[in-house]
Subunit: 348 residues, 2 copies
């Protein structure tokens, strides 16, 4: 079902998932397209970003952001185009990054918009990826918390994902030995041959810990954490003294409903932090680093212009496919940054 | 058995403890006093510091420092006096901080010595406490990693111990709301009435978590960790977003031989670090901050001179009592900084 100019298709949160989300947790409904009041713009969604954090917003467990309410539109970053404007700063045809969520049309008073201009307009969906939230997460988490030094070993989980692929490449630009961890031989080959990682290991291999130990012969100085679970278990014993662990996600745990069986390894982690003098630090990119967005955008745009970074998108066509695609993303079925093409990429 | 000038009593590590150490893990032996060669000094121990980290050195589990070997003298910081000198920089009668360990006499080439002068000589054992390693640990861990801001809530475990008592008092100097946790009503009263903490809670109370929640009404911004175990469990749910947890010790776990029964709460800690964007950082004072000792010593000496800090010592007489005292220290039986008076306090 393609986008049309009379109907606003919206995908709502119908119920909260217990464990992995299913399509039944979502509901599609259609409304009339709303009209902007004075000071507002009407936005039409062209690209919708799907990201692991969305699983957290579907739950009402306490977290850093309020949950999506039942019956509300699923949240999400979009690249949108201004269709009508009653706002002095925006003209029809302007391209913006917005938080419009999973719908065709939305209203905004402009306060949460970021106007796109210059080279990014050649590839607007990049504003949701390499030049957007995932790129910003990779850049700040690695450089500010991870603080990698030339010759150090950096390990990155979800190595071909939106964030991980950039973490590894930036670490290579900084002169590090980079070992990725990904799911499956194809992704691992891609990380080594296309992204230029020194090595990429398959987390489905039974001997991940052994492999990791072999390819991190001098230990691990920075582990960029986005998955948790068994990858973390393999990494922890190899962390070097004074190692840094920026934590931007724990996708392996998002769908779990209970803590794993014992023994209780919490004291083990505490003890590793003490004995190895580790710095383990969680961060949420916009809250913690919003004030440094310009610095990121300038540097990353330059690297993109110089062709020093590869960024792979996993493009899915059609808003209707968003639920299934998010479910797959949480299982690692995507290959690269997931973006949903809600409408044609050409300006209206 | 008092110190005499002919005999070097040495307390050796006789065997490695399994769980809590016992007196059988130690052995007292007597030797002749050694003679210094060219470039050496002969030191006579006056004060010996006993500290929780010593439990770690009794084990051969991998740690940040090599273990004490079986049959070797137990390690420990001392305040010592130069008895004979074949070293140009030291004269007989000089007072130094040394790592002489649990013995009456030792030789040094001077490289690990810190000469005492000025006001600290009025109270030489302070060089093992408020102006030594524990003070340095409190100062740097709190100020550099904890970074407490006026009006924030700081919680400190082992609140009347060498480190904790200073952490809380420095946090008060910085304008924080300070809640201590200690073992027993007497220590709690002392923390409130003498140290000036806003509140001190008894970790033996069944309702510690409730009490802590009540007295940290605005959550916890900095938790200075030195104990782990159930205190940490009570603290974690109360940590505020962007909270900081400097970790200098985990005394509650030092004697444990197995991980606790499940469930495995390691993912719970990871998830708290992510959701609350916590910074959890281990540190070992000399390795991490050795280059900033002068800054600490200057500021702390000034606070001492201005009478702005209280520092309580738990003085034990006689080297022979060191084993029993360390065993008690690991059980929280001490009240204040434990120092062993190996010999009279007056310069020889």
């Amino acid at each position: 079902m393609p986008q049309d100019k009379q109907t606003n298709r919206r995908i709502l949160l119908a119920s909260r998932p217990h464990g992995a989300p299913t399509e039944n947790n979502f509901r599609l409904e259609a409304q009339h397209v709303p009209a902007p009041k004075t000071g507002q713009v009407l936005l039409r969604t062209v690209w919708l970003s799907l990201d692991p954090y969305m699983r957290g917003r579907m739950s009402d467990a306490p977290s850093y952001a309020p949950p999506v309410g039942l019956g509300e539109v699923m949240c999400g970053g979009t690249v949108s185009v201004v269709e009508q404007s009653e706002h002095a700063d925006y003209a029809v045809g302007d391209w913006v990054v917005s938080n419009s969520g999973w719908q065709d049309f939305s209203l905004s008073d402009g306060r949460d918009l970021f106007k796109l201009s210059g080279p990014v307009l050649k590839h607007p969906s990049h504003a949701l990826g390499i030049l957007g939230m995932p790129g910003f997460t990779a850049y700040m988490g690695l450089l500010d918390i991870g603080n990698p030094q030339p010759g150090e070993t950096v390990v990155v989980a979800a190595a071909t994902g939106a964030v991980g692929s950039l973490v590894g490449q930036i670490a290579k630009l900084k002169g590090c030995h980079v070992v990725g961890i990904a799911g499956g031989a194809e992704k691992c080959r891609y990380a080594e041959q296309v992204l230029g990682f020194d090595r990429c290991l398959d987390h489905r291999d039974d001997n991940l810990a052994q492999q990791l130990s072999r390819h991190c012969a001098e230990g691990i100085d920075v582990y960029f954490e986005s998955v948790g679970g068994k990858v973390f278990n393999a990494v922890l014993p190899l962390m070097n003294t004074k190692g840094r662990i920026p934590v931007c996600g724990l996708i392996a745990d998002y769908n779990s409903t209970n803590l794993p069986a014992g023994p209780d390894r919490l004291p083990l982690l505490q003890s590793a932090i003490l004995r190895k003098r580790l710095r383990v630090q969680g961060f949420i990119i916009n809250q913690d680093y919003g004030h440094r967005f310009d610095e990121f955008f300038r540097q990353m745009s330059q690297w993109v212009a110089e062709d020093r970074l590869v960024f792979r998108e996993d493009v899915v066509d059609g808003l209707d496919n968003a639920p299934e695609t998010l479910i797959g993303l949480l299982e690692g079925k995507n290959f690269g940054k997931v973006v949903v093409r809600v409408a044609g990429d050409t300006p209206a």
